[in-house]
């Protein structure tokens, strides 16, 4: 993580792109939220809807599955990534399918689906424009909602031009038209479509997809078979809960009042309908999620609706971008979710890469206390003995000096003496490690020659005098008032 972050900080193109895009998304979100009004009440309603479904997930999954089947769909249960990807591969291969189109889905990134399918010789086309650009460039998404946020215009034009076999003009309309043409052919040729699921509705057995480009709509309309891959926590209980989520999702994600296309699918095409998939499979994926249930400190992370608002407000994400997190989910939600879903050892350093400022929790439309969870995960890493030796010692030293007034006074004098050689004016410059790591890039104010605690007796005296004056003045004033 340290190395990735350091490398990211040296990539001005990426930082510029991410900074601009997250800044725009953030400002738009604030405007859309203000326009709706009663935002706290909406957050409460959204949080309640999610909490209710998650607290009774067994019940609602059972009901959801029964309703999907009643509508003519099939439900496949997958315990982990290998089962989910494996089943989809086996299904496509057993049908003799060679070409599939996909709409944007973070879960399929999480379970490594594309790799599994491509190894089996299938042509997989990502149809979200951003994902398509990344697929052409052999790159990975770096944001939950806007996957190609780290790419600038020139690299995008280069990728598309390479596919076209000729240089494409630097015009948005022409580039869009080219991509539309290529992807339209892929849609029409595809034998199956793979989508994610934004929300599953237990009451009706519906799956809801939201996309701005219409890729979700195309993938669930044009190919004869639709496979929807759903994280087991995506459910809401009732049909009207969906309305609550739709009112907060788009506003939080992109600052739109509504996403361009909200597509709700209940079973496959029915007799007499002119188009739509003839078969629908919903693959319900656990992959580590069930282990978070019943754990009061972290269960709420399953309430997440993947809007990306926490990424756009995070001072760390905005500097280092998504790839530095080294996991499918980035930003504050990634720093919580990745260590919990995967290996604590592999992603255990992510909760450290945060400032605990709480901007994420403020932005979260379902009020997940992300910063509390980050502290909890740090605590768990500590309990598991994952703290580094230097850090352990630093805190021992800190405890030694700060647990007694005498030692603290003595320690301050000692520190002043030790730091004296590096002092320039009011600041410390250079110095040996680990001090140098800080002073290289940040200000380190020097200790004042007169410490606050040494001055306190004099200050207290002054304060008392001021207070007496104030109190006397006030009572004098009151007397005057009474005279009137």
């Amino acid at each position: 993580m340290r190395q990735r972050a350091a490398a990211a900080l040296l990539d001005p193109t990426m930082r510029n792109s991410v900074h601009q895009a997250t800044g725009t998304l953030r400002a738009r979100r604030e405007a859309a939220v203000a326009e709706l009004g009663h935002w706290e009440a909406w957050r409460d309603a959204a949080r309640r809807a999610r909490a209710h479904a998650i607290a009774q997930l067994d019940h609602y999954l059972e009901r959801f599955a029964a309703q999907v089947e009643r509508a003519g769909g099939h439900v496949i249960w997958a315990d982990d990534a290998a089962q989910a990807s494996g089943w989809i591969r086996d299904f496509l291969v057993s049908r003799g399918f060679g070409r599939v189109v996909k709409s944007k889905s973070m879960l399929t990134e999480e379970i490594g689906l594309n790799e599994v399918l491509e190894t089996a010789g299938l042509q997989v086309t990502e149809t979200d424009l951003g994902e398509f650009i990344l697929q052409l460039a052999g790159d990975a998404p770096s944001h939950i909602v806007t996957p190609a946020i780290h790419r600038d215009r020139q690299t995008i034009i280069a990728s598309l031009s390479q596919l076209a076999g000729e240089p494409l003009p630097d015009e948005t309309a022409a580039l869009t038209a080219f991509a539309r043409g290529v992807l339209r052919e892929r849609f029409l040729a595809a034998e199956a479509g793979i989508t994610g699921v934004n929300f599953g509705v237990a009451e009706t057995g519906s799956i809801c997809l939201v996309t701005n480009e219409g890729n979700g709509r195309m993938v669930s309309t044009v190919p004869p078979v639709q496979i929807a891959v759903m994280g087991m926590e995506r459910l809401v209980a009732g049909w009207e809960d969906l309305g609550v989520m739709l009112n907060v999702l788009a506003r939080s994600a992109t600052g739109q009042k509504q996403t361009t296309y909200v597509s709700v699918t209940t079973g496959p095409r029915r007799p007499g309908e002119p188009d739509g998939p003839e078969e629908l499979y919903v693959v319900v994926v656990d992959n580590g999620r069930s282990a978070l249930l019943g754990d009061p400190h972290v269960q709420e992370v399953l309430h997440c609706i993947r809007c990306g608002a926490c990424l756009n407000v995070c001072p760390v994400y905005r500097e280092i971008g998504g790839h530095a997190y080294g996991s499918v989910y980035s930003g504050p939600i990634g720093a919580v979710l990745s260590p919990l879903l995967g290996d604590l050892a592999e992603h255990g350093d992510l909760p450290q890469a945060t400032s605990l400022c709480g901007a994420c929790a403020e932005a979260c439309p379902v009020k997940i206390p992300l910063h509390d969870m980050l502290v909890e995960l740090r605590d768990r890493a500590n309990e598991a003995g994952q703290t580094r030796v230097g850090e352990r010692w630093a805190f021992r030293v800190w405890r030694f000096f700060f647990s007694s007034a005498g030692r603290l006074r003595w320690g301050a004098r000692l520190a002043r003496a030790l730091l004296a050689p590096f002092r320039q004016g009011d600041h410390i410059h250079g110095g040996p490690e680990p001090l140098a790591s800080w002073t290289k890039t940040r200000n380190f104010p020097a200790l004042k020659s007169q410490l606050f605690r040494d001055e306190w007796p004099r200050l207290q005296h002054q304060l008392d005098r001021l207070y007496d004056q104030y109190a006397t003045g006030r009572s004098a004033g009151e007397e005057e008032d009474q005279r009137d």
């Binding site: 792109s17 706290e40 009440a41 409460d44 309603a45 809807a49 209710h52 479904a53 998650i54 607290a55 009774q56 067994d58 509508a71 439900v75 496949i76 249960w77 315990d79 089962q83 057993s94 149809t127 951003g130 650009i133 806007t146 996957p147 600038d152 215009r153 948005t172 869009t176 029409l188 009706t204 519906s206 480009e213 219409g214 709509r217 195309m218 809401v236 209980a237 009732g238 009207e240 809960d241 969906l242 309305g243 609550v244 739709l246 009042k257 509504q258 361009t260 296309y261 597509s263 699918t265 209940t266 002119p274 188009d275 739509g276 078969e279 499979y281 249930l293 019943g294 009061p296 269960q299």
Partner: protein, 265 residues
Amino acid sequence: MTDGPAVPPAPSSRAAFLARIRHRFGVTGEAAQAAKGDQSPGTPGGDEAGGRGGLGALEARSYATTAGAEPPTLARRFCRELAAVSGEGRVVEEPAALHAALHRLVADGEARKVMLAEDEVVTGCRLEAVLAAVGAEMVAAGDPQAELGITGATAAIAETGTLVLTSDAPWGRGVSLLPPHHVALVPLSRLVSGVSGALALLRARSLLAAGDNPVLLPSSINLITGPSRSADLAGELSLGVHGPGRVTVFILAWWDEERDGQASR
């Protein structure tokens, strides 16, 4: 589920999957001991934060401008919101005005191949003669060459400029999706204020359609808010990425649902 084609064996089972969840709740279930049931907290009957009446009441407070408003107010709001997301919406007072507008739209544009979804509104507006007069060619639904798709709509949401299309109508899914230009004809009476009204309407329609199967919704419901858009080209707005790049909505002020579209005046 034995009637469909063969599928590979299931990797896990519903029983094992749900048992794992119940085990988690059973072991350290502090977070999860609410009473089991289907009451959904964000919805009607919901409590404090949603206010009495749940989603609808919350929307009524939030959408102060059009909650409970008369249809003409809803129509104005709809057109304004649609314009804000690069769509075009206008109220037409009589069939002749619609015909003139469509005439211009086809004659000015390059749209020669037109897909018509023949529901009662589109049929009732008698568009074929108008379109034929400007040289438009009618193509079958699903024709990839179609340049213009004309549909009705199940409802329209004023607060967001959103069309509601369901697949149980003759327009299916493709007419409003595949051509680069989508035109929708919406009777004034079908406008609702917010998304809660649209969802309630859809539920009510399903109840009417199949009494013994009360919550079986149409196989596909699409809420469509303006043209297809993307910001994936380095943040630059591009329209018409997959869905139509142009969306035009005509709100039919004369349409009377009770009299099959004849003006009630």
